[in-house]
Symmetry: C2
Subunit: 128 residues, 2 copies
């Protein structure tokens, strides 16, 4: 039952980049990484489990914030080295900054300009 | 005018992963990589220029196939380590397999199942 995991071309570090896209809106919410265990758990549990490179451990998205991602679909690309998730984003907030998604800055006239509002202050999400 | 490029957290190899999303449909078309020069050219020319890791050179998307990507918007994520492009996909084909996009396989019952049609055979795109 894990042959599908063997088809993925993991990086030398055993990871694969994962795009999380909101099913209802089509918004690209975030890009994170999974290792084999994280992807297996994501498929088994139906909620996104990433590998936190900064913390060096599995990261059940929303474990602190409650902003879990229910996984509706898991796709792989033509090179088998990128995963695309269709998700429902609990709370409507995917980003640790308290925004809907992580891509809140757009390049305008040679500068990154923030164009998305903070929906909930991070210290009220994670505790001060 | 290149300060915005300095804000990106390039990998040790000097690359950043780039998600190309179709503006009209919201479809995630592909994920590829850019180096600093590729991203600078993308911004300057208004068409996606990637770094081909397999070929070790700049890759003007569509240079062979004609399937260029007109860039409408360039975004950066909260960690400054992923770029999101909103594009218009020439020919409606982003994938080298001749499909609309690269994420044409979905996980179903522990197998990757192809669910998107080939719109144009690759040998008619690239020559036999």
């Amino acid at each position: 039952m894990s042959a599908w995991l063997d088809e993925i071309r993991w990086t030398a570090d055993g990871l694969v980049p994962v795009v999380a896209q909101e099913a209802g809106t089509g918004q690209v919410l975030m890009v994170a990484w999974m290792n084999r265990e994280a992807l297996a758990l994501t498929a088994a549990e139906g909620y996104a489990v990433y590998w936190s490179r900064s913390r060096g451990r599995l990261w059940r998205k929303g474990e602190e914030s409650g902003h879990r991602q229910k996984v509706l679909e898991i796709r792989i690309d033509c090179d088998e080295d990128v995963v695309l998730l269709k998700v429902e984003q609990a709370g409507g907030i995917a980003c640790h900054t308290g925004r809907h998604h992580c891509f809140y800055r757009v390049l305008q006239d040679g500068r990154w300009v923030t164009v998305e509002p903070v929906l909930k202050p991070p210290d009220s999400i994670y505790g001060a």
